[in-house]
């Protein structure tokens, strides 16, 4: 695996409050990956570098090669969907600690809760604003950094 991140920071970024995060965006549509990246960038969330994958298989390959701090994944994709990707990551000793956020058009609360039960750090419903995604991503990375639950949200979805 590559060795990105800020020198002096451990893998979970403790003590590195101002680090920028390497983010993997997984979606089978190139324009939609651009929409997501542009919105995340516009939000002010500290992104070091974006990586792209068009399905779960590609995502796993990139995760094996690069240092990633966060995965934003679509749900419906050919050649391994978002849920399968999440399941595979949770079974891997190294990948399981990387937060996965499922970005979805799913409207049913029952289905959204299933994502969390499968181990997603959060879900984000499309459409979302830059402000909405920044709030949730900062909360997720804060949890990872400090090892504590967020007193406001916990492992909840982004639901607007």
């Amino acid at each position: 695996m590559g060795s990105g991140g800020t020198p002096g920071c451990n893998k979970k970024g403790r003590g590195c409050r101002n680090m920028a995060y390497n983010v993997l965006v997984v979606d089978d549509s190139l324009p939609m990956r651009s929409v997501i990246k542009k919105t995340v960038k516009a939000s002010g969330f500290k992104v070091g570098r974006f990586f792209d994958a068009s399905n779960g298989k590609e995502a796993l390959h990139i995760l094996g090669e690069e240092w990633l701090d966060l995965v934003l994944t679509d749900y419906n994709m050919p050649d391994m969907n978002g849920l399968e990707l999440l399941t595979r990551m949770k079974k891997d000793e190294i990948l399981k600690s990387i937060p996965v956020v499922v970005i979805t058009t799913e409207g049913s609360q029952q289905r959204l809760n299933e994502f969390l039960e499968m181990g997603a750090a959060a879900y984000v419903r499309k459409p979302f604003t830059p402000e909405e995604i920044r709030t949730k991503l900062n909360a997720i990375m804060g949890e990872t950094e400090h090892g504590k639950g967020n007193s406001e949200d916990g492992d909840e979805g982004l639901d607007f």
Partner: protein
């Protein structure tokens, strides 16, 4: 489910999707069918059909001129619209349809489960044909800075 309730949810959904995700302001117009907006065979309109099943079932249909879809894709890709492959315009149209559909059902009833099929591109002539009597179905038309668009829902 009342037709007006569905129409209101769809309009709210369209506003959210286009304004939040694509930064496209819009105004709703009062056209009653896609034929009032475009001419089959003359205007190149991307038609996307998305089937759904749930407490009620049917199809969501979107009408987005190809030029508008390519312009939206180009904005996000940072490219000239004339250089964007047609495939990217289709992907944007399908994704907009997917988002409008999912968001509509969430606004209607977030407790129920609606299964959405994969969006499929269709022919303008087929979707807007006499098979669909738009006067009886739900039809929403709108104007944006990119041009006109429309969305419909046929409930079985």
């Amino acid at each position: 489910m009342e037709k007006e309730t569905l129409k209101t949810a769809m309009k709210d959904s369209i506003s959210e999707v286009l304004e939040k995700m694509f930064f496209v302001p819009l105004n709703f117009s009062e056209h009653k069918s896609p034929y009032e907006l475009w001419k089959p065979g003359k205007d190149k309109v991307l038609v996307t059909e998305l089937g759904f099943q749930g407490p009620f079932s049917g199809t969501v249909i979107s009408f987005i001129p190809e030029e508008n879809a390519l312009s939206l894709a180009a904005d996000f890709l940072g490219e000239n619209a004339k250089e964007v492959p047609a495939q990217h315009g289709r992907e944007i149209a399908q994704e907009i349809t997917n988002m409008v559909s999912g968001n509509t059902f969430r606004l209607l009833d977030s407790q129920s489960v609606f299964d959405l099929e994969t969006p499929k591109m269709s022919l303008f002539e087929k979707a807007a044909a006499s098979q669909v009597d738009w006067v009886k179905e739900i039809f929403v038309s709108l104007q944006t800075t990119e041009g006109s668009m429309a969305f419909g829902m046929v409930v079985r």
